[in-house]
């Protein structure tokens, strides 16, 4: 197996926007000036990713999107916004109300993807907010059940994936297009795992030429997701692991207890005829501490204790790096790449 196919380093999605874009993002969105500035920021971000050694550049840090819910919801017919609701303390977000049959009013991802495809030939992975999270983060004032709502989002997302695949093919021909279904809400309602699996599968089912993954983070228990691996019709999972880990070096169950459930993943994954890859969060996006190369290398070694085939492991930050400055984001990605090189030399 080529080195290029093992321990692939990848971004999860978002990267901090340069101030010249974030400061005026909302006031210029939809205007020609927006495309120009978002494009400029995307190019600069691609350069940072390249210099860090990152192997997969995601979608250049999501410079065309402000966040993951409202960005999509604002482009969906029959989602209404009545005002903000509390997330915690005095932090609020716009939670949409589904008031009728939903459909896209415009493609949320086409402009961003086409711009990036014109600029670069590097491997990309396109994050798309998942159907279950969209359903969970919306008020359901129309559909008869949570499953029906999630399925309606799945159909809409599936249409969007087909739309962007047509753009992809214009630039990349038959090269496989990587889609990451972002589902941070996936494990928040344990009794709804059936809905999660059904709607995620439905959003990509039958579309040829894709490599698909799901991103979940800050779950209390990934095991409920691992239990459903046999039914999950995706190629892999990209998860957060460092936020639950220690900052001290070492390997073994007591040094890295947060990684123990990767053994559970491996146990179930090894029973599958087509095992799935696991993208492991090896750097924490919620702290400014830049984990050392040695610490990240230990996290990779720990993962390899459970998943022996390095072709099934990918390396990523826990979540989007938008939470950190661009400088710190770069340092974290750089150390991730250096740690990967170190482990490759040991294999």
């Amino acid at each position: 197996m080529s080195d290029k196919n093992i321990l692939i380093t990848q971004e999860i999605g978002s990267f901090r926007k340069p101030e010249y874009l974030s400061r005026i993002f909302h006031s210029i969105e939809g205007k020609p000036e927006f495309s120009e500035l978002a494009g400029k920021a995307a190019l600069e971000t691609l350069k940072i990713f390249h210099e860090s050694g990152l192997m997969n550049s995601g979608i250049a840090g999501e410079m065309f999107r402000w966040e993951m819910y409202e960005y999509l919801a604002r482009r969906i017919r029959n989602i209404e916004f009545h005002g903000k609701v509390r997330s915690f303390d005095n932090r609020y977000y716009n939670k949409g109300s589904v008031a009728g049959e939903i459909s896209l009013t415009s493609s949320p991802h086409s402009e961003e993807l086409e711009f990036i495809l014109k600029q670069t030939k590097v491997p990309l992975k396109i994050p798309v907010t998942g159907p279950y999270t969209m359903a969970d983060w919306s008020f359901n004032d129309h559909y008869g059940s949570r499953l029906q709502l999630a399925d309606a989002f799945a159909d809409l997302i599936r249409g969007e994936i087909e739309t962007i695949q047509r753009i992809w093919k214009k630039y990349r021909g038959d090269e496989v297009m990587q889609i990451q279904i972002d589902e941070p809400a996936a494990t928040t309602h344990p009794s709804e795992m059936d809905i999660v699996i059904e709607s995620v599968n439905r959003s990509v089912r039958g579309i040829k030429g894709l490599e698909t993954s799901i991103h979940v983070c800050y779950s209390k228990d990934y095991r409920m997701l691992y239990d459903r691996l046999p039914e999950l019709e995706l190629n892999g999972l990209n998860l957060e692991y460092s936020n639950r880990d220690f900052l001290t070096p070492g390997t073994g169950p007591s040094a890295r207890p947060g990684f123990n459930d990767i053994g559970y993943f491996s146990e179930i994954n090894s029973t599958l005829s087509k095992p799935k890859f696991l993208g492991i969060g090896v750097t924490d996006v919620h702290i400014d501490t830049i984990e050392s190369v040695d610490l990240i290398a230990d996290r990779i070694r720990e993962s390899l204790r459970y998943v022996e085939d390095p072709g099934l492991i990918r390396l990523n930050p826990d979540c989007g790096l938008r939470t950190r400055s661009r400088e710190i984001g770069y340092e974290k990605l750089r150390n991730m790449s250096l740690a990967r090189d170190k482990i490759i030399s040991e294999l």
């Binding site: 009545h82 005002g83 609701v85 303390d89 928040t188």
Partner: protein
């Protein structure tokens, strides 16, 4: 004619203006006393709106509570603030109380005081006679227990609750129980308020055993799950019915609500199935207006 009373309880969504002002207070751009005045003004404005709508009862809108446990973590010794934690199965988070020592009230809840990692007291900035308090089973099960928290928790918290009621001068008690009632004996609350002045709200149905040692009727029992209708009726002066959905922005029809109430054939207390802070303010206002319009006792 059957009595239909109506009630709004718990944290109510703030106006955009107040949220912005709180944000400025958090960044030390306005003083605590200025903020306290603004919270008081918005409370008065909302309460007069509720009175006009015809509501029979309301507890303070709690604009100065970040979450339903926060004031207790800051004004009770033996309870400290833990990390942000998901509130049940919602997308709202609260700072989990960490129970780590002997519990006692350390701050006068009736007096103005600058909060510690919380909005300023007084606890209830309202002339409403109702005290809203989390049920003790909810408090215990939604807290993190650090070290030895023994059976004294219930006893000590009852003392804290009694002191809160005394110091704030509240005459009626609304207890909000969203966790499983387990084997809790609800007659214990007699220590702090007469059952006839107490409303018990349950998200999960109570059992007969929870209520067997109390012969008096509560002002109302509300089972938001709707699955213990007879038990609720047997122990209530007014049967509690949770007909407003606090997790949907679809505004209920007054006619449909009244039709459902008519079918019960009993005196009722109508309210919502959760506190309304999960909704945008404009929707909460519309729902309360509909609710108030259902009252025939004001």
């Amino acid at each position: 004619m059957r009595r239909i009373e109506t009630l709004v309880f718990g944290i109510y969504p703030k106006s955009e203006k107040l949220r912005i002002r709180i944000g400025r207070w958090e960044r030390h751009l306005i003083s605590t006393s200025d903020l306290e005045n603004e919270i008081r003004q918005e409370t008065e404005q909302v309460e007069s709106q509720w009175a006009e709508s015809g509501l029979t009862h309301w507890a303070a809108p709690l604009f100065n509570w970040y979450d339903i446990f926060r004031p207790f973590s800051t004004m009770v010794s033996g309870i400290r603030l833990g990390p942000l934690t998901r509130y049940l199965e919602t997308n709202t988070f609260y700072r989990i109380p960490v129970l780590d020592g002997p519990i006692a009230l350390k701050t006068d809840p009736g007096m103005f005081a600058e909060g510690e990692e919380g909005l300023p007291l007084p606890l209830y900035q309202s002339r409403s006679e109702w005290a809203f308090l989390p049920g003790l089973m909810t408090f215990q099960s939604m807290s993190e227990i650090s070290g030895a928290v023994n059976e004294e928790f219930i006893e000590r918290m009852l003392t804290v609750y009694r002191q809160i009621i005394e110091k704030t001068g509240k005459k009626k008690l609304f207890l909000f129980e969203v966790s499983d009632p387990g084997k809790f004996d609800y007659s214990l609350y007699r220590q702090i308020m007469k059952p006839s002045d107490t409303v018990l709200f349950f998200s999960k149905s109570p059992g007969k055993d929870n209520l067997s040692s109390i012969s008096e009727r509560f002002y109302s029992l509300i089972d938001a799950s709707g699955s213990s209708s007879d038990l609720v009726a047997d122990h209530s002066m007014l049967k509690g019915i949770a007909l407003l959905d606090a997790h949907s922005t679809r505004v209920e029809s007054r006619d449909l609500i009244l039709e459902k109430v008519e079918n019960t054939g009993e005196d009722t207390l109508l309210t919502s199935n959760d506190y309304l802070d999960f909704l945008p303010r404009v929707i909460a206002d519309r729902k309360v207006s509909v609710l108030g319009g259902c009252s025939n006792v004001r």
